[in-house]
Symmetry: C2
Subunit: 626 residues, 2 copies
Amino acid sequence: MNAPDSFPQLLARAREPFPSSSKAYIPGSRADLRVPVRDIRLTNGETVSVYDTSGPYTDPAVTIDVRRGLPSVRGAWIAERGDTESYAGRAPEAIDDGRKDETAGQLAALREQAAGLQRQPRRARSGANVTQMHYARRGIVTPEMEYVALRENGKREWMRAYLSDAARERRLAGHPLGASLPPVITPEFVRDEVARGRAIIPANINHPEVEPMAIGRNFLVKINANIGNSAVTSSIEQEVEKLVWATRWGADNVMDLSTGKNIHTTRDWIVRNSPVPIGTVPIYQALEKVGGIAEDLTWEVFRDTLVEQAEQGVDYFTIHAGVRLAFIHLTARRRTGIVSRGGSIMAKWCMAHHQESFLYTHFEDICDIMKRYDVAFSLGDGLRPGCTADANDEAQFAELRTLGDLTHIAWKHDVQTMIEGPGHVPMHLIEANMSEQLKTCHEAPFYTLGPLTIDCSPGYDHIASAIGAAMIGWMGTAMLCYVTPKEHLGLPDRDDVRQGIIAYKIAAHAADVAKGHPGARSRDDALSQARFEFRWLDQFNLSLDPETALAFHDETLPKDSAKVAHFCSMCGPKFCSMKITQEVREYAAAKGLADGEAIADGLAAKADEFKRGGGSLYVPAPEAGS
Amino acid sequence: MNAPDSFPQLLARAREPFPSSSKAYIPGSRADLRVPVRDIRLTNGETVSVYDTSGPYTDPAVTIDVRRGLPSVRGAWIAERGDTESYAGRAPEAIDDGRKDETAGQLAALREQAAGLQRQPRRARSGANVTQMHYARRGIVTPEMEYVALRENGKREWMRAYLSDAARERRLAGHPLGASLPPVITPEFVRDEVARGRAIIPANINHPEVEPMAIGRNFLVKINANIGNSAVTSSIEQEVEKLVWATRWGADNVMDLSTGKNIHTTRDWIVRNSPVPIGTVPIYQALEKVGGIAEDLTWEVFRDTLVEQAEQGVDYFTIHAGVRLAFIHLTARRRTGIVSRGGSIMAKWCMAHHQESFLYTHFEDICDIMKRYDVAFSLGDGLRPGCTADANDEAQFAELRTLGDLTHIAWKHDVQTMIEGPGHVPMHLIEANMSEQLKTCHEAPFYTLGPLTIDCSPGYDHIASAIGAAMIGWMGTAMLCYVTPKEHLGLPDRDDVRQGIIAYKIAAHAADVAKGHPGARSRDDALSQARFEFRWLDQFNLSLDPETALAFHDETLPKDSAKVAHFCSMCGPKFCSMKITQEVREYAAAKGLADGEAIADGLAAKADEFKRGGGSLYVPAPEAGS
């Protein structure tokens, strides 16, 4: 393991602002509420602001020391509410990092390096409930909700143009398919969505560094990136670097799925340095604590793990409480059985003990923990299909109905809840997934992994799944869990993470555009305009991955002069359709037809004139002729 | 330019059979009708056959000399029909290769290298019509139709399983959305589809090397790859190599969009070495012949170019005859105007002359040429939207209606016809494209470029467009024109071609699966089964890109022992869900529950028993509790 001192170098590339971009902040109703956006300066003097998930890393004004963690965003807000208390917290154990006592020496060194990341945990005062849902239901608009509202709106320069042009742009208004997207998101709207369970704001009181964001069908579609070391490969540095890298490219959430040694300490590094909500699957760590023997899991070990992770600041837990003993037999005839790690662990436990899952029987006990820290549920789909042949089968839908029932229980405790979904689903079965989820889970946000629309594309499953993700995102899924090119094959590296994220930014953005989210098209329109006007640099800088766009262009035309050329290497100078179109317009203008309308009128007149005079040149009208 | 002798080296990689794969042939009704498939041998002794576009290149038994071209497939069939004659053909001119006389010396050397690729052209005897549609409408089942039928069916071992299991697999039967997919494709079915214009078999009588294939909504969804040098970059060798490379990875058709010098000679190399139909956009070459000045184009130059290319064996021509003078003004307010190269050339011509397009006024003259060689129309969408903001506008649909009218005229001449479609279309507007096309173009095959569902992903437009392509393919599009990662940025190289093709194989396959094409799922199911049984090599070999799948896996677990390991680097040995699922099944089996059904019954009984005895452990039923 390298010394932590190497982090600054590792992170250097991820700290560079994007080209021609700078961090800006939208001011809120209080001085400590400033919502980040990325301003992209165009060569024509305009600025386009885009949603920014990269946190303070891309703000050169912020000093960052990954050994001490990010500055707090929400600390004052949490303190002001006066319903939490700091406390000693659970005593750390060697087993938290998958260690036996004999390796405690190594562990001490490891933890020493993370000393600057230790915080005194907070919890709800006795009897209090500190979830955003609890506040929302009591009519309280929290700073987190205001933050989300400002963030969803962005600067809205472009949005205003679209709203005023609504009539003219009707064909582009989108089909929301049941979503209800207001032109402007107000803090009160956010509160209402959270109160009715249709959106969540994952924000553990022990993760004050988080920049609040919402997951819900009436907000922008979000994406999640998975990171995490495994027993086979990868280190803490790699994981922290992947976290920062993932948020740079647009991950709205990150799940730490570490399964090897050092899980606890890795999590300290990740949570303290993360501007986005962090999710985990606590059963992974619990299993490490019992030596990897599923049968040896107990409610007590699991409960202790929940508290451990809640104290560290994890924002949502995947809990596979829908994998019930009675459903396991439904997977017996499946082509690929149970493909969820957590689901298979619980299935094994249920089988071995011939008992109902302790996640199910202790579900209300879990709620009691969640609401003391505001950890949100991500109710896991342990019986999701692992291949298209198993899609939408009885095992999957039996579990989904259970998740709907558990949602009601969670909501009884005002615990924020989202529902995980598949997986592998052919296109014709996607809609049923969404409609069943909306119906059985009462519009709790849906959070799907893809789905992959075919099974035979390992190495390219980010593409096979982006197809399904875009479709289900349009239909109402609130967050899309990315799939990288390494899915089914190995752990993703840095470049795989980027590939997966961009594929999912595309899917989420395609969904936003199709839903008609106000302003979603603004980035596309600005880029298309730049394309038409041969502002190559603007075209690159407005793209989801400016580095790659520039590099691809420069492979064939590297000179600076090509950045203002009125053609590219695809067609060469004679064949550029956009150049010819501009010539057509200039030609018409030179004939005294000054603007678009005049060109149109002039051309129409000429065409009519031509028709009247030269009709004999036409082929017989097809209606008459064939 | 390198000597042609370097081709064998360049092509060596593309000639290697895929791992564990061999070429097999399905015999037809005559000795010279043998339809290629690729047999993939699995480690469990099974074989999976897949559709094979790679031609003789992947058959080690065939000697290939790219300086002489591929062996003839259809020569005897064409000759037997007795309705064609060979003739001297048009005399080649220096301008065919974009040359003035002063460079005739260079040209002679260029053409000398292609001497082995020259053929005496054939044409229909006077008064004859040699199109597959003409034969079909007269009730003739050609060998080409039989070939297509056998090719679409494949070996059908897997299909039979699906057909017999139809009842059990109902949820997986697909939603054909108006397509009519018979379980077995007969030659007569092919004839009927071609006769009614719902499918085409692009097969110029001067391209006897082609392995016939069908494009139609009731067949497998096909993909097209574009290659072609431009004035800025690339050489003949690169283009021939890209052709072979593209068919290796699954291109069903290839369009040669060359625009620089040496167009004619490049085309000789490409057509003579292509096992798949070749399409072109003849206006590109016509423009070269008039020095790149759109206004100088004439019907005579264009007509001469059509004959030139028809004699060389081009199988379909993109003709932008729907770009009418009266429609140009409809593009004046567009964000990106006209983005089709051919469309913009014709718009400029119309504007400059204030005349109707000669492609429109001479459409029946064009039909007369097409039917003498059986060149199919690909009616170009010159007014397709170049950004999502321009999607489904009046310019686009006015042109589409004209293409429908022109389809009727083409069909009057029995000329095979498909219709090109966009382009850039947000998801919510895709369905209207398909339904308008089906309605206005009378089910003539639709052939779309993507569509891209967003505009802001240059560098990743293969993904943004694969989403739209999969959706519109499901809805009825017959062929998907690929988009590479270089789209909008530069000319694709070898790896870009592969990336684009695999993205489109995914889209086309996802569409086939969703439509419920019989047998389409077989490859996915075989791969999923291999995945579940940890047959790693089979998993790689069944994938669309075995090389990449293997390489990605080996990045973290390179040892041979990992190819039989019951885990991978993603989760490590403790967390492999599939391994745990198998353990669950083994555990149940050890308890005397021998097969899936018994496991299911046994588990259900245990669960019931548990419920009866331990009901108090349950949380209150949600229906009652909240």
